[in-house]
Symmetry: C2
Subunit: 428 residues, 2 copies
């Protein structure tokens, strides 16, 4: 843990840097898998699935009766919780619908935008230590709301070739029936090119380990869109001395348990407060099961005491955290000054955990400073915008001469000709 007091601005650039991830070594592996899948389809997919994930059998798609019967394996309170989360996520993402109106930019020239769903989307849901049905909620709800024609889930099976019932139930509840037992690079490659068993998609969403992340980057270069670049999860907390140090420590710990590479930052206003948080960290973590992971993440944890709230905000903007918790008084004065963050949690009763699961906001968010230029996943992530324009005869008569002058200046006389031939028309 690194604790600093009012570090000079010259140091900020280093302090806001995340650890560099090695990329080059992965690229060759990813390329090998992609080329193989492109050439050999399911044969290659099954080979890697059995090699990396110990997949048994050759049928990748989960049977519909397996999906519909998953409910029986879940506790009723988990079913209720999933339903409450789904309702909130749906309500918030539905509110993101954009209705744009036509604009007459010049007489007889009308322009507008319309949104359309992306036809085919692939949702990658990691397996591994925990079944992330929450990620399926975050991706599946907006995909359904957007009206995507084909929604494909790829998720690695356990060594018994099974998928977690929580994931199966969530898919069933959302009305998604295309689930494939397939993870890792081979899943991303299969959705990129399409195979006999796995459909090709237009955009791939979802988190994953470093191999999946590298595979999504590679898919991007093959013409498939992806949700956003991914890195280890992050939280930055802005707290004042009135904040409850126990709440602050609990939020730091929640982020730390995601993995040893989690980025955990606290900006407070005094060394005393930092000390109180440290005490709370130590006492709370004793009762947590992932203590080893947490200890590893806390090694890199950064606590900075700034005298001024302005510096806290400026540092946070420079850092551009995935999750930003503002646990201070007068949050309404702070919010307009927040320039870069994925999702913001306001006040003492808004822990990151609520956004991870059920408040309604999306938890698929930009990491590693990407919040400077990227938004988190929202309804628009499953849509694209098309622009339209319609000119009347009057419209082209009015606008045409300007277009001709500009086309001429750019040396494009066929562009000019396309206007000229219409101007010499008599409009009937």
């Amino acid at each position: 843990m690194k604790i600093l007091n009012n570090p000079s601005k010259a140091l900020w650039s280093d302090l806001t840097k995340r650890p560099t991830l090695k990329k080059t070594t992965l690229r060759e592996t990813v390329e090998t898998v992609f080329r193989d899948v492109e050439r050999n389809g399911d044969a290659a997919v099954l080979k890697y699935a059995s090699l990396f994930d110990e997949l048994k059998g050759e049928r990748l798609r989960v049977k519909s009766e397996t999906i519909s019967s998953a409910k029986e394996k879940l506790a009723p309170e988990l079913i209720d919780a999933i339903k409450q989360a789904e309702a909130n996520i749906k309500k918030f993402h539905k509110s993101q619908t954009v209705n744009s109106k036509p604009v007459e930019t010049s007489p007889g020239v009308v322009c507008w935008q319309e949104t359309r769903s992306i036809d085919r989307v692939g949702l990658y849901i990691p397996g591994g230590t925990a079944p992330l049905f929450s990620t399926l909620l975050m991706l599946g709800v907006p995909a359904k709301l957007a009206g995507c024609d084909k929604i494909v889930i790829c998720t690695p099976a356990s060594s018994e070739s099974e998928i977690s019932p929580a994931i199966l139930y969530t898919a069933w509840y959302l009305g998604i029936d295309e689930i494939y037992m397939l993870g890792g690079m081979q899943a991303i490659a299969a959705m990129t090119y399409g195979t006999d068993q796995i459909p090709q998609v237009d955009k791939i969403f979802g988190p994953g380990n470093q191999f999946v992340t590298a595979a999504k980057q590679y898919a991007l270069q093959q013409g498939v869109a992806i949700d956003m670049p991914a890195g280890p999860s992050e939280v930055l907390i802005i707290a004042d001395d009135k904040a409850n140090p126990g709440f602050v420590a609990a939020d730091l710990l929640a982020q730390a348990e995601h993995g040893g590479d989690s980025q955990v930052v606290l900006l407070c206003q005094s060394d005393n407060f930092a000390d109180e948080v440290k005490l709370q960290l130590n006492s709370q973590k004793e009762n947590l099961t992932r203590e080893n992971v947490i200890d590893k993440a806390l090694e890199n944890t950064l606590i900075i005491a700034f005298d001024s709230i302005r510096d806290q905000i400026a540092f946070s903007n420079a850092y551009a955290p995935e999750h930003l918790i503002i646990n201070t008084e007068n949050t309404s004065e702070i919010l307009p000054l927040i320039q870069s963050a994925g999702s913001v949690f306001i006040g003492p009763y808004s822990p990151e955990s609520v956004g991870d699961y059920a408040s309604g906001t999306n938890h698929t968010l930009p990491t590693n400073g990407a919040a400077r230029a990227y938004s988190g996943v929202n309804l628009q992530s499953f849509q694209k915008t098309i622009s339209f324009q319609e000119l009347t005869y009057e419209g082209i008569q009015n606008l045409g001469p300007s277009v001709m002058v500009m086309a001429d200046a750019e040396g494009l006389d066929a562009h000019k000709n396309a206007v000229e031939i219409r101007l010499s028309d008599n409009g009937n």
Copy 2:
């Protein structure tokens, strides 16, 4: 030119494919330039600029008096045309402002989105045969509207180390004063890492040759956002037999003059109409200066006669063209069925040329089928969305139990703890 009549759907997948671009050979060159610029800054930048662009001198930034005096070198009608285009583009992009309202997803749980400008954006404006001041309009207008803090233009200088006065004037008129005489891979690398002379940016926009395109892909992997993947420009025209074959031919020629690799597709309803268009192509192109480029592009031109308008639409959606011209009657029945396209031009008096310059829509659009998943540049391209949530004490009491159940099911007990510690608080 390839002319087909009602090709079977089995052939569509091949017919909608664009020629594959070689990428691997460029990657090494790009990597060399980026590593050199990252390590050696301006020394490397200047070396490549003098090598590739014959840049003289070492000062890259254009002096402010050079920018402000550019107006004197432009014809008054070009100045007026630029002003009309700017007004239309501004009007349409301003209408894209999204105002989202807070939503109470559960009692005491309020979520909303806010947009923020991307702080630092780089606009790459190609030089080469024509000075593309229209591209500067398309990128500069929304960048200013979004309120981006730092707007940087990179554009290659001529062999006399000069920038076209039309570009300088446009920048001046838009209020952008940071213009650098720098093009190619070295410009993209410089904006990616920042050098003493060139500022680092968060997102890079703009078209370019294959080297610039490859450099932007590389920049993306270095953590800089880009507008979209780029390929050769495209038009697809849907015409019925009532359309004016002269207008259709003029639109095909306008696309063809962009480059020998331009993609030009016509979907009509009869072989007769196709023949009439061919006659018009031959007669019109004789008067055009870029006849060689046009001839090259026309070699790959595809004309398909479909009996049914449904097939025309389905083929167009499968192709997902950058520009789609719908030159038919009853366009209002067709528009809702258009699923994938960058920008759509409706009716006889809406040539693509008007959108390239002045109707108000953006001309930076997805090519190579990317319109299946990507939108063209619009106001949102210069913004990001942040999500916010605020829970009251009642809110966490209401939502907390569900969050705890789900965190438990995902094996994340520090997440559970962050809620539990608040639930046991007395709310004062």
